[in-house]
Symmetry: C2
Subunit: 231 residues, 2 copies
């Protein structure tokens, strides 16, 4: 893993809260690294403080250019109260268990992005549609055009928030345990990595449909492919 610091070209601003304090060798502020982690997922953990309590809520996200979009019911506490406060959006992919020769050296191989910012409630109807399209296509490419798009009433019932991709950091760990050349190597124990593999399974047709109703190609083609890699 390489150590990088932000430059003007990187597009990410290094601030007191994104400065990488620990495990520096695993950190990056490069925009390309951020894009790669975000492109590989569709679910984030949104951290927001509501009425003095920190909540961590799993929710879908979408990326369109320099913005990350979140959505939710207009009745949702965590989303609607989020604007005007800084939130943290974390996207994590688990790649494996790092099994070392000592408990202390155990760890996880992962890719993680943390994005900070004050989300903006999207009010422009065109941007709202663009945000919802990004959210839909992030998890399910092809669905925006295949299914019925939102009605005026559905749009009114949905809040869309935009977060600029400016203040963020990426951390990754990959590879074998770090104690291969330590004195623990003399213990003669097995060490290595137990991979965690996330894939899409075979599509399950809605029981309300005929059992022989085949999914369209943009869905059927995903079976067996990684669910945590760029689409």
């Amino acid at each position: 893993m390489s150590t990088t610091t932000a430059t003007a070209d990187d597009g990410l601003v290094v601030t007191e809260r994104t400065r990488l304090r620990r495990m520096r060798e695993k950190g990056s502020h490069r925009r390309a690294d951020l894009d790669a982690v975000l492109a590989a997922g569709f679910l984030c953990h949104l951290g927001v403080t509501v009425d003095g309590t920190t909540m961590v809520v799993p929710t879908a996200y979408g990326v369109d250019g320099d913005r990350l979009y979140l959505h939710g019911s207009v009745a949702s506490r965590s989303l609607v109260q989020a604007p005007d406060a800084t939130v943290c959006v974390t996207v994590t992919h688990v790649d494996g268990l790092v099994l070392a020769r000592s408990v202390f050296e155990h760890g996880v191989n992962y890719r993680c992005a943390m994005v900070y910012g004050v989300p903006r409630l999207v009010t422009d109807p065109e941007e709202k549609l663009r945000g919802l399209r990004a959210l839909t296509e992030q998890s399910s490419p092809g669905q925006w055009e295949y299914v019925r798009q939102p009605s005026r009433k559905e749009l009114a019932a949905t809040s869309v928030l935009a977060l600029d991709l400016t203040e963020a950091s990426v951390k990754t760990r990959s590879g074998p345990p770090d104690d291969g050349d330590s004195e623990d190597a003399a213990l003669g124990l097995w060490a290595g990595v137990l991979p965690v593999v996330t894939t899409f399974g075979e599509p399950v047709t809605d029981p309300a449909l005929p059992a022989d109703f085949s999914p369209p190609a943009h869905i059927a083609s995903r079976a067996g492919s990684p669910a945590d890699a760029a689409r």
Copy 2:
């Protein structure tokens, strides 16, 4: 999915912040449901407010009885500054993409637990070892006995936090899309679920070892098994 409310037997206290406001049909305050979600994972997202900023940090956890344990370097900002403040620990398993006939009805099948509380810094040496054992065995059953256990120096470099499993809620969604009997059914589109399957792969031996060094049974036996089911 069933709707339940907490009783004395359930062991979980329903408070203003764990009361299920939305999607009630997917919520539970039953201790058994909480245990099932926690037992199926090893990585949580810890939400903590440090210096006024909410951070969401992926980190390992372990469960021992009525307590959830977290650990980290004594130099870690998010962990060491966590005590005395309420944190939120969220564990999420993604089970599938819910592909409906309209964008609006799209969703995710998931199991999610949120635990709130003020973590306690573990100072008792015996409990500290018990917490680290729970953390190790949560992801890697059998490793605590197989590998070298923590030295005095390593214990001193590690913070262990305990969080009581008293204030928590569980949300789940499973099954097909909800619009099978809506007027959108007349669109004649395919709908259903694209499962997300998380499994352990074949163990990868540390390159520092001979290539024919086979992993012990407690590791080798996990290849191909679900990585998000109770172990």
